[in-house]
Structures are given as structure tokens and as C-alpha cells.
């Protein structure tokens, strides 16, 4: 079995121009990142570049006008953008996660309407999965979708919607019509002009400031063909697309952010003005650089292994497979943050702690602090403990 369970559009790497498109977006992100971070505003210029370069359609099949990319391309783009700006990288991979869900589970009318729009640069998708009071649980929803006369009626509040004010459309999880319980969920697409959006609250976080993740109340009605997958079957979409793409995509962004930080530190240490002042023979310095590099190599190895596992595994539900997917997320979150934290110690106050240092460690550290919280590592450890009990032979995926 070589077809990706998470993305049927997996293709050979190296689609012409993808790297160049990513590089263009990264260049625009670099130009604006200090302002978007300082003012906690969405990186509209980088988003515009994603629209103009066609990168928004990375995972849209070629027959719909997209680039026809696969997981390999998504991971590489996440790392490359993460090296520059973690907010931009996360915005991009989360959009791709939504696109992958539509490609795999959207009906033909929805795909025919939406995917060419994304390919034309007019379809930036945000995800509406959070809900007040459910503590980040992906697989339950209190707000119920209702239906009548071929329409689905949406009335949904979400405390965190990354890019919500700039998205052209939303994939929204809600309790299914006639659900037996909050666990029976549907995923529905809502175009911005089909919905009334009310924003509440302010966005002033520690890091990830350019991700502009606001609270939104969405109301409106959409035709029934905008249902993604079957009513009550969001669990399948989560298990086959949302979770694997989230863990792979996020880890790629975090690895990129930490790799960018390490790279900038190494360039600083080797620069003519610095190398004469610093003692590059310092055993403490060398050990700390070694540790930071080792942490990133571990994450890279896990990312590659998990990517291969997802591509080659038909059923991602067995405990050993889930454990690997979760281990990647937990390890990438912890190790990338720890690597950058140790780099702050390594270079000290001037280049480790101040905003204007070319190392940009200060921002990388703040941004990476979100990694363990972005679907909480604590929650994943609880799940993993139980999953481990279900795999008493300890077989590895």
C-alpha cells in the first residue's frame, strides 16, 4: 500500500516551481515579520503572495487547477516558511489541512465550486474546530447544525479561529442534525459571503502574534452539498486527514522555526566581528550547540519516519500508529522549544533576549512556546498513556 491515507493526491516530490513559490512567500514574510509581530496583525502581504504564487493550492489536484502537491511538499513548505516566520508557516499548513479534507471528502459539486477558487488564489480557508467549554476536544461539539429545505443552518461560536478575519471560507465542525450525542459531528464548508461574522475580544498573545486567532461567532445558511463527508462522520475525517496533517504540518513549522534560529545563531558566531570576541573553543558553547543541533536532528528523523508511516499505512487507528503520530507532535513541540531556549543561554542577553538581535531568538522562543499548548501536550500524554496500555507487545509503527 503506497497511497497516502491522509492525502490521496500524494505525488512524487519536486513539482516544478514549488520551492520558488515558497521562497517568494518567505521573502515577503521576512519583509513584514517585525511589524506583524509587534502589532499582532495578520500577515496579509504573505497571504497575498500565497494567493499570487498559487501556493494556496499546493494540495489542490491539477485537474482543478492546483499544484497537485502532496505531504512531502507540505512538510518542506512548512519547514521553509517556519525558518522565517512561524505564524505564516502555521497559517499555511492549517489552510492546507482544510484543503486536504475537502479534496478527500468533499462531494463533486463542492470540489468543482471551491477547489478552482483556491487555485485562483481566492480561497484561503480557516478552521473552526474550537468551542467554548470543551477544552480543545476535537471530537465533540455542543452547537448543533440544523437542516431544512436543502439548506444547513449554522450558528456557531469559536473562541479561536486563526486568520478568521481574513479567510475566504471556513470549515466548521458542528454537532450533526439529529445527533445521538455531541460526539456525532459533521464538517461543513461556509463561504465568507454566506455567513455573518461577529468578532469578539482582542488578540494580544505572548507569541504567534501574526496568526491573529480571534474569537468568532458565525451564523448563516449553506446548501447541503457544502457538507464535507457524511453527517456524523467527522471522526473519520479527523482520523485520516485533520490529525495526521496537523501533527506533520505543525511539527514541520516548529522544526523550521528552531532550525532558522539555530542557523542565525551559527551565522552570528561565525561572523568576523563576533568570532574574534567569542571563544569558539569554549566547551560549554560547543556542548550547547551540539545539544541544540541534536534535538533538531531527532525531530527531523521523527518527522520523516512519521511521514513515511502515514503514506504507507492504510488504517491510522491502531494504538501504535496513533502513538507515533502523537509522539511526533509532543517531541517536536518540546524539543524545538528547548533547543531555542538553550540557544538563548548560549548567546546571552544581547543576542538571546533582545528583540533587535539578528538571531530573532526572542521571537522564536515566544512563538515556539505555543507548540506544547497547540492541542495540549498534557492531553496527548493522557491519551498516549491509555494507548500504550492497549499495545502491551510494544510494537512500533
Amino acid at each position: 500500500m503506497t497511497t497516502s491515507a491522509a492525502n490521496p493526491a500524494t505525488t512524487a516530490p519536486g513539482i516544478p516551481g514549488i520551492q520558488q513559490r515558497v521562497a517568494k512567500v518567505a521573502a515577503v514574510a521576512a519583509e513584514h515579520l517585525s511589524r506583524t509581530d509587534r502589532e499582532a496583525v495578520f500577515p496579509v502581504e504573505a497571504l497575498d503572495e500565497m494567493r499570487d504564487t498559487g501556493l494556496l493550492a499546493l494540495l489542490v489536484p491539477v485537474r482543478y487547477g492546483g499544484l497537485g502537491g502532496g505531504l512531502r511538499d507540505l512538510i518542506d513548505a512548512g519547514i521553509a516558511l517556519g525558518r522565517v516566520d512561524m505564524s505564516v508557516a502555521m497559517i499555511f499548513v492549517m489552510h492546507c489541512q482544510q484543503v486536504a479534507a475537502v479534496v478527500r471528502y468533499g462531494g463533486r459539486p463542492l470540489c468543482s465550486e471551491l477547489l478552482p477558487e483556491i487555485a485562483a488564489g481566492r480561497g484561503y480557508l480557516a478552521s473552526v474546530t474550537t468551542e467554548a467549554g470543551k477544552g480543545g476536544h476535537l471530537l465533540s461539539a455542543e452547537s448543533a447544525l440544523t437542516r431544512g429545505e436543502g439548506q444547513l443552518f449554522i450558528d456557531r461560536f469559536a473562541p479561536i479561529v486563526t486568520g478568521g478575519e481574513h479567510a475566504d471560507g471556513f470549515l466548521i465542525t458542528m454537532q450533526s442534525p439529529d445527533a445521538l450525542s455531541p460526539n456525532q459531528m459533521s464538517l461543513v464548508y461556509g463561504r465568507r459571503d454566506q455567513l455573518t461574522l461577529r468578532r469578539s475580544g482582542d488578540w494580544q498573545p505572548l507569541g504567534m502574534r501574526a496568526s491573529h486567532s480571534v474569537a468568532l461567532h458565525l451564523t448563516g445558511q449553506v446548501p447541503e452539498h457544502q457538507l464535507v463527508g457524511k453527517h456524523g462522520d467527522f471522526r473519520t475525517i479527523a482520523g485520516t486527514v485533520f490529525v495526521p496533517l496537523a501533527h506533520l504540518g505543525w511539527s514541520a513549522c516548529w522544526l523550521g522555526t528552531a532550525a532558522g534560529a539555530l542557523s542565525r545563531v551559527l551565522k552570528l558566531l561565525r561572523s568576523p566581528e563576533y568570532r574574534n570576541k567569542a571563544n569558539l573553543d569554549s566547551e560549554l558553547l560547543l556542548s550547547r550547540i551540539s545539544q541544540a543541533r541534536r534535538r533538531l536532528d531527532v525531530v527531523r528523523a521523527m518527522l520523516e519516519h512519521t511521514h513515511r508511516m502515514v503514506c504507507e499505512t492504510e488504517d491510522l487507528s491502531p494504538p501504535r500508529v496513533q502513538l507515533m503520530l502523537n509522539a511526533l507532535k509532543i517531541t517536536a513541540a518540546d524539543e524545538c522549544y528547548t533547543a531555542v531556549d538553550s540557544l538563548v543561554e548560549t548567546v546571552g542577553m544581547r543576542h538571546g533576549y533582545l528583540k533587535d538581535s539578528p538571531t530573532r531568538l526572542e521571537q522564536a522562543l515566544r512563538d515556539l512556546r505555543s507548540a506544547a499548548l497547540n492541542y495540549s501536550n498534557d492531553r496527548l500524554h493522557l491519551a498516549d498513556g491509555r494507548l500504550a496500555l492497549l499495545d502491551q507487545e510494544v510494537r512500533f509503527a
Binding site: L139, A179, L180, S181, P182, N183, Q184, G232, R235, G239, D315, S317, P318, P319, R320, L382, A383, R386, L387, L389, L390, D391, Q392, E393, R395
Partner: protein, 89 residues
């Protein structure tokens, strides 16, 4: 399905309400979360004296009451116990 099996399942299905458990009853939708899967396995082991292998612990096994019972019944049959006899017990 064995009556003891369906009775045991009830306490894991917090959204079951007054509905009867049928082979098509969807376990996750009725409230079985992955956190409880281990407790459910222990309950099956204690009641029927069979252990589901690691290989059987995937979503398809836990999809419905019927799919889970089929996995248990197969072990009972393999162990020389007639699942119908259990049913009648």
C-alpha cells in the same frame, strides 16, 4: 449479541438514553471515548475470560456494538466456547 455483553456496554455509553443496544449501535457516537477503551477491554476480559489481541484494537473493532461482539465471539469460539451458548446463558 450476548445479553451480559450489552448490559456491560451500557455503562460506557453515556449518551445511550433509553435506546436499546443493537448490533448497529455506534459506540463512539453513543459516548465511548478512546480514554475508556482500556476499561472496556478489562470488563470484557473479566466477564468472558478472553483477551483481544493488540492487532484487533483498531477503530473497526470498536465501531459498533456488533463489531466488538464479533471480535469477542470469535475468541470465545476459538477457545471452544459456543458464542450462542453464552448468549443463552
Amino acid at each position: 449479541m450476548d445479553a451480559r455483553f450489552t448490559t456491560m456496554l451500557v455503562r460506557f455509553l453515556k449518551f445511550l438514553g433509553d435506546r436499546p443496544i443493537t448490533p448497529d449501535s455506534p459506540l463512539h457516537e453513543l459516548g465511548l471515548d478512546s480514554m475508556q477503551a482500556i476499561e472496556l477491554l478489562f470488563a470484557i476480559e473479566d466477564m468472558f475470560g478472553v483477551t483481544l489481541s493488540d492487532e484487533e484494537l483498531h477503530d473497526a473493532t470498536f465501531a459498533t456494538a456488533g463489531s466488538l461482539w464479533n471480535a469477542v465471539a470469535a475468541l470465545l469460539t476459538a477457545g471452544g466456547v459456543d458464542a450462542d451458548q453464552v448468549d443463552a446463558a
